[in-house]
Structures are given as C-alpha cells and as structure tokens.
Amino acid sequence: MEAARQIGVELTVASEQPSTLAAANPAGLLTLDFEQPQRAADAVRVFAQQYPINGVVGVDDRTALVAAAIATKLKLNGNPVHAAIAASDKYLQRQLLAKATVPIPRFVLRELDEDPATIAKSIAYPCVLKPVRLSASRGVIRADNPQSFASAHARLRAILADPETAAACGDRARQYLIEEFIPGYEVAVEGLVVNRRLHVLAVFDKPDPLDGPFFEETIYVTPSQVPSGLQKAITDCADRAVRALGITEGAIHAELRYNERGPWLIELAARPIGGRCSAVLRFGTGVTLEEIIVRHALGMPIPSLQRERQAAGVMMIPIPGAGTLQEVRGVAQAKGVPLVEDVQITAHPGERLVPFPEGSRYPGFIFARGETPAMVEAALRDAHRRLEFVLV
C-alpha cells in the first residue's frame, strides 16, 4: 500500500472479508471470494467498468492465483492462470518440473486415507511429508524410518483435519506428498520475471541447517557466500523452473538446496518473499521490492534492479514454544546490538503461539545490515539471544 502511495498510484485493496468501511470508499475497498479466482475475476471486471484497473498484484500464494485470474480477464500484466496454479500446487509443480528435467527430489502423491503402515514399508528414507497446498513449511515433517513416518503421518492428518486449513488446501486437503529428503545447504532466490525472463534480485543464504524433523526458517542473509559458479547453477535452475511452470511476469520466491550433485529446486512461488522479510531488500537509491513489483505490474519504468552493496539479513524469530504470549523482554537490548536496524515483535500479548509443524506464524523479525554477511549473521544471532519470550 505504501509503495503505491509512494509513486502516486491510486489503489483498490481487495480482501476476502468485507472491510467495515467498504461502503464509504467503494473505489478503494473491494471484497472478493479468493476461493473462487474466476468468480473473483468476473467481479473485478464488473468493478473495473466503474473504477478502471490498470494493474493487479497478489501478496501471497492464494492471492497470486486470484491476481492471475484477474490479469487474464482484464488483459493486464500478469501470469497465466495455469502458471499460478502450478506455482501454488506442490504436486502439479513437481510434475511440470520433472517433465522439464529440472532437478527436484523424487516425489509421490498419496491419499491421507491410505494405510500409513503399508506406505511406510514401501518408501525410501529419509523422506519428507508435505501438504500439497500449505506454505511457510507448515505441516512439513521429515521421517527417517517407518516409525517416524507413522508419527509424521498422524500429525499431518491432524493438521489437515482443521476446517480452515482444509479449506485453504481445497481439493488437495486429503492428499500429501512424500518426497526424498535432499541433504545439503539451502538458499532462497528472489526474482522478478519480465516477459518470461528471470531477473535475479537477490540470493539469500540460510545459514541454519534445515534438516528437520520440522523446517522452521530462521536467518536469511544476502549476498550469498556460495561460490559464483555454483550460484550461477542455482539461479539457472530457478530460471528453468520459472519457464517450466509457465511463469511469465511478476515476483518469484524460490527455495533450493545444493550439495555435491548440484542445485535442487525445492519450491517455487509466484509471489515475493513474505511481506515483513522484504524490508531487508533495497535497490538502487533505496527503492523497495514492493515499489518494483507495483511499477512492473503497471508497466512503469523501474529505476534499478540492482540490490544495494551492503550485506543484509533478517531473522524470522523462532517460535519459542507453545503457550500464550505474555510479554517479550529485551527488545531494547536486541535493538542496541550493533548493525541491528530493527526488531519487530508481531505477536501480540495474549496470542497463542503454536510451534512447527502445526504452527507457522513467527512471533517477530530482526533486521540487520553491515559490511559482510558474516557480520550481519552474527548481529542477528546476538540480538536474538537478548530476547526473552514470556509464555503462560
């Protein structure tokens, strides 16, 4: 919203639930059914007859799909619907990537109602169980043997039994993926696709090992310290994935692993990195990622896609445990750590914190900037050590 204001663009904000003030600003507030992207696109076409729309941007996996449907319907800059679907459906994504020979883990789709004991005997270990349509590593569990597979399966089944979660997964709520666990290091690639061509905006290292059994993210630091040849292989892999999924326009966020066999595409989403985390990225003379995305959607000139010279990083503060948050201590001390630029606590007092894999809502974020990635990483860890979450 701020990016649009910054460049003087009038905005219509669409939400799933009606804004209480929608009647007061019919041009600026719109209610759409995100579960029905085509219906939402039809509604926007009618809306646009009165209030013209020149660009559309989704902010997460679900709205990326709705945005694609709207862009197609109104002939705006955006992804085709099939590409947005492929990016949000892990099974479909893997099928397309495999067909295009993009390196990915071996995978199989299973029904939740199938006997887990039978499946457990027929698969290779270690493996990873994944819901087909959840994001932010929610419900993703590693299993090393038939016993841990059974336990992971029961946990995933319980997660997908939640009505809200099931609704978010749609017709995939009774299915899950079993995927080969790829050992190695993980990186994230942020990019902007313009006319089918991927422009890499940043490669983030994830210095904390993501070996399971759950896959809670912590630190992202850029620029990556991966050797340049391997980095090229990583971004080439992401580029091939973009083309395999048919993504033609807009932001992408890809997660890859690499090991002695090269890079492996783990996930690719047709959306930018999560909203808070994007604050770590600055381009040219301080342009934000959001401004670049809005400008691209509207076909406006983009001043620069070159990230600033300094190293930058963000820590998604690990969920400290299960319980109700009472208070967070040490925020001022954490902010006082050299190179730390901000500590944002997003969980509110009284909020119930739910650890992974059932939960996925981080209680806050730490941002740092400095000369080198190592200094930034050290500052993030130092700041985190000073925080104390009081749960009851």
Partner: protein, 210 residues
C-alpha cells in the same frame, strides 16, 4: 508534567508505518493527557525531545507528534527507518534523561491564527464523522477509533479493540477513514495514527506470517 524517572530503563520500540512515518513506542510516558504536534523545527522551542529529533540532519523531519508514550516521526529522507531509527532512539533517550520536561503541552492557537478553518471547528466536524459513521462501521469488527486531537488541520487518532494491532489497520486508515475525511471534511490536511499496535490484545485480523 514532571520529568520521568531517569534511573529506570527506557525501552523504545520502533514501528515503521511506511517509509515516511514511524512510531516510537516508549516504556515511559512523554506527554500525559494530551497530544502535541510539531510541524517545523521552530515549533520545538521549549520541547528538547522534539528539538533533538528535528536536529538529526539525515532524517529531514517534516512532522512530529507526541502523545502519551508514543512519538510519531514523519521524515522526508528516502533512507529506510532501519538505518535511521537508532539516531531517533538516542535523541529520545538523551532528552528524557535531562532534568527539564522533554515536551511542553500544546499551545492552543488564538482565534483566527493559523489555518482557514480553526482546529476546534475541524475537531467538531471530524468527531461527528467518527461518531456517526466511522465507529458504527468499525464496531462490526469489535473496533473503535478515538479522535485524540486536531492540530494544524492534522487529525490525530487512536485505534482500539479489534482495530488495535489488526493486520488491516492501515487499510482501514488509508483506504477508509482518510477517504471519508477527504470527502466530508476536506479541510483536513492529514491523519496520524498514534495507536500502539504492538499492545493490541484482540486484533480482528492477524498480522502477516512473514
């Protein structure tokens, strides 16, 4: 008001609203029972905290609002808050540890002084919009919006209930309330939200996951 206890630790949390505006929420009150807006450095005479923030050269402060334990800073500098927040925090700490009041209460302008429509008249008009239109609407999500003051035709408000800490609070403010006031009270020049959103215990929508 008496100066705060200098021996107590002053905790400051920065809450950027956007690249121009940032709220600094303090663990100690700065100005109890009122609100003070500074539109230029000259207004800060007698208020060392405001003077210190205006004096940070890299910020290019264009506006400063102090209310209770919240200081809202509006800057012109394109640099992100992450790089500037520390300087603001230092200025606040140093002003609060001095032996003089950090901020003096607002002086009400004499009749006819300042903008074409008096702030008192604007206050009445905005209060009517809040009472009759905004609050009945946001009450549907358990929220309420309190008009704190109008100074130099800038409205200062505080959100509560379901609006406090709500993931859609900025949408409500910018796409809802701002538009309503632009239409119904066009003399209003700006809106500043002085809510401490981190303390919202019952937000209607959760903040973003990432």
């Amino acid at each position: 008001m008496p100066p705060p206890d200098n021996t107590a630790e002053i905790r400051i949390t920065a809450e950027p609203i956007d690249n121009q505006r940032c709220k600094f929420v303090l663990s100690v009150p700065v100005l109890s029972g009122g609100v003070r807006r500074f539109a230029r450095a000259e207004d800060a005479t007698g208020s060392p905290l405001a003077a210190a923030i205006f004096a940070i050269p890299e910020l290019a402060v264009s506006e400063l609002i102090v209310s209770g334990n919240i200081i809202t800073v509006v800057k012109q500098s394109p640099a992100p808050w992450q790089t500037l927040g520390r300087a603001v925090g230092s200025a606040i700490r140093s002003a609060l540890t001095a032996d003089v009041p950090a901020v003096t209460p607002a002086r009400k302008p004499a009749s006819g002084e300042g903008s074409a429509v008096s702030d008192d008249a604007l206050y009445e008009q905005v209060a009517k919009v809040f009472d009759e239109q905004v609050n009945p609407m946001v009450a549907r999500h358990g929220g309420h919006v309190e008009l704190i003051d109008v100074q130099d035709a800038v409205v200062m408000l505080r959100m509560g209930g379901g609006c406090q800490g709500c993931g859609m609070a900025d949408v409500t403010l910018r796409q809802g309330i701002e538009g309503m006031l632009a239409q119904l009270v066009p003399a209003v020049r700006g809106i500043v939200d002085i809510t401490d959103h981190t303390s919202g215990a019952n937000p209607y929508f959760q903040a973003a996951k990432k």
